[in-house]
């Protein structure tokens, strides 16, 4: 009987894993189980250009390639548990799906603030298409007062988009500068200046302690008691891993799902589980390009890179292929990459700048287009550019050499 694969998570990482299984010769049944009702789509535009225009599935959907035409989609019904011994996934509606290979690609969901007067309308996150549709409806051009909680990339993108629509925008964050963790203080301070020149107000080194309003938000209360008038609160503070459905297993889900270099899931006692693989934001794996410390990487190219790796190894495992051991032993060292559009700025980064102990401007001017190099000791471990694509690419080559 032909073998079957269940992929839990019907987003980019799951889709890329399914394509890669087919590209590597796996011809058995593939079932994709997704919480959202939508076929896979690209999330980054939801805080950028699509949020500024009309948010539709068509605008962000991934084209489904011929390889995955015969995939079975089970959408709008999330996985709620798995039995790794019996190899069965169960969903919220009570359906069960047997597998020979399991791909864990259930991703993240936004963390939201726990506030005393929190059960009022006007609160938004921007993870899903439906989130973005709901937020877009409230970003009344030229009228809405928007508070963005969190000054990471997504928070800053939403702030820039809302400013572009003419909304009044205040960004509140506990960090001292926007995007400081990946970029370092110097570039983060410069990006704050650029946001301010576009009219964004910042309340940094502050948390949010409550909301005002009865049915709908009228204001956001900071931890120093200051109240900022608001119609809309966008929460872009951090994420939870969607691992609750794995709670009854012995997998190490202390932070995402621990995986070995072949991306097989690893148990709490350090054993790799054959036939069970991890893809995307959840995968906590060591990247020998940097060091031996397993980390989750929440960058856009990681679902694709991990999906391809899993498709290759898992298809060999299911076929009892002779090269399975060789594939498992092959080093997996994807170069993280990220990008962000804010106003007319095209920000592009590679590597792990957040691990650097030192950075320096390696091209351009701080107040203009630039390239920042990030170093650990003498070794370049990350590069971030604003514009200057060809220069950025030179340093990208150095990162993988």
């Amino acid at each position: 009987m032909s073998k079957s694969v269940v992929i839990v998570g019907a987003s980019m990482g799951g889709l890329r894993a399914a394509e890669a299984l087919r590209n590597n010769g796996f011809a058995g049944r593939i079932t994709m189980i997704g919480e959202e009702a939508h076929l896979p789509y690209n999330r980054p535009p939801l805080s950028k250009e699509v949020l500024a225009k009309e948010v539709t599935h068509e605008a962000v959907a991934f084209k489904l390639r011929a390889q995955v035409e015969d995939v079975t989609w089970h959408l709008g019904d999330p996985a709620t548990s798995v039995d790794l011994e019996k190899k069965v996934v169960t969903t919220a509606s009570g359906k069960s799906f047997e597998y020979d290979g399991l791909v864990i690609a259930s991703g993240l969901r936004p963390r939201v603030l726990d506030l005393p007067n929190g059960k009022i309308s006007g609160r938004h996150t921007v993870r899903t298409l439906d989130d973005a549709i709901g937020l877009r409806a409230e970003l009344v051009p030229g009228a809405a007062k928007v508070v963005v909680a969190g000054a990471g990339f997504i928070g800053c993108e939403v702030a820039a988009t809302a400013r572009g629509l003419g909304c009044e925008v205040t960004n509140v964050a506990i960090d001292p500068y926007p995007m400081i963790r990946p970029l370092g203080e110097q570039l983060a301070a410069e990006l704050q200046r650029r946001h301010e020149s576009h009219g964004v107000k910042f309340k940094l080194n502050h948390g949010i302690s409550d909301l005002t309003g009865t049915e709908k938000i009228s204001g956001v209360v900071l931890d120093n008691g200051e109240v900022i008038q608001a119609d809309v609160l966008v929460e872009a503070i951090s994420s939870h891993c969607n691992v609750e459905w794995l709670a009854s297993t012995n997998l190490d889900v202390s932070n995402g799902v621990l995986a070995d270099s072949a991306l097989r899931a690893v148990t709490t006692d350090g054993k790799s589980v054959e036939g069970v693989y991890v893809v995307g934001d959840l995968a906590r794996f060591a990247n020998p390009l940097f060091d031996n410390e397993p980390r989750r990487i929440e960058h856009w190219n990681i679902p694709t890179e991990t999906g391809k790796r899993v498709g290759s190894v898992l298809s060999a495992y299911l076929a009892d292929a002779e090269n399975f051991a060789e594939l498992v032993a092959t080093l997996f060292m994807p170069l993280p990459s990220f990008w962000s559009d804010q106003y007319d700025m095209k920000i592009q980064g590679f590597g792990m700048p957040g691990l650097a102990d030192r950075y320096e401007l390696v091209a351009g001017e701080l107040s203009d287009e630039l390239v920042m190099g990030y170093f650990r000791g003498e070794i370049l471990i990350g590069v971030v550019g604003i514009g200057m694509t060809s220069e950025v690419m030179k340093y990208r080559k150095e990162l993988v050499s």
């Binding site: 690209n42 592009q348 694509t389 690419m393």
Partner: protein, 63 residues
């Protein structure tokens, strides 16, 4: 043959496709994307990788 299409309204010239299929995509001296419109079928895998890595999802392969 494969026909390659880039939606130039979406393309922001990030240049990530260049690393996947340098014989098809390149950045010119002004850092603008240039590409060849057709490629041999044997290039499909690398061109699909270029489609995958495009931050703007601006590249498509026309069958």
């Amino acid at each position: 043959m494969i026909t390659i299409n880039v939606d130039m309204d979406k393309c922001q010239h990030y240049g990530q496709c260049v690393f996947e299929a340098p014989d098809v995509f390149k950045l010119n001296d002004d850092d603008k994307l240039e590409f060849v419109a057709t490629a041999d079928d044997s290039r499909r895998s690398d061109i699909e990788s270029a489609v995958d890595v495009c931050p703007m999802q601006a590249i498509s392969v026309v069958e």
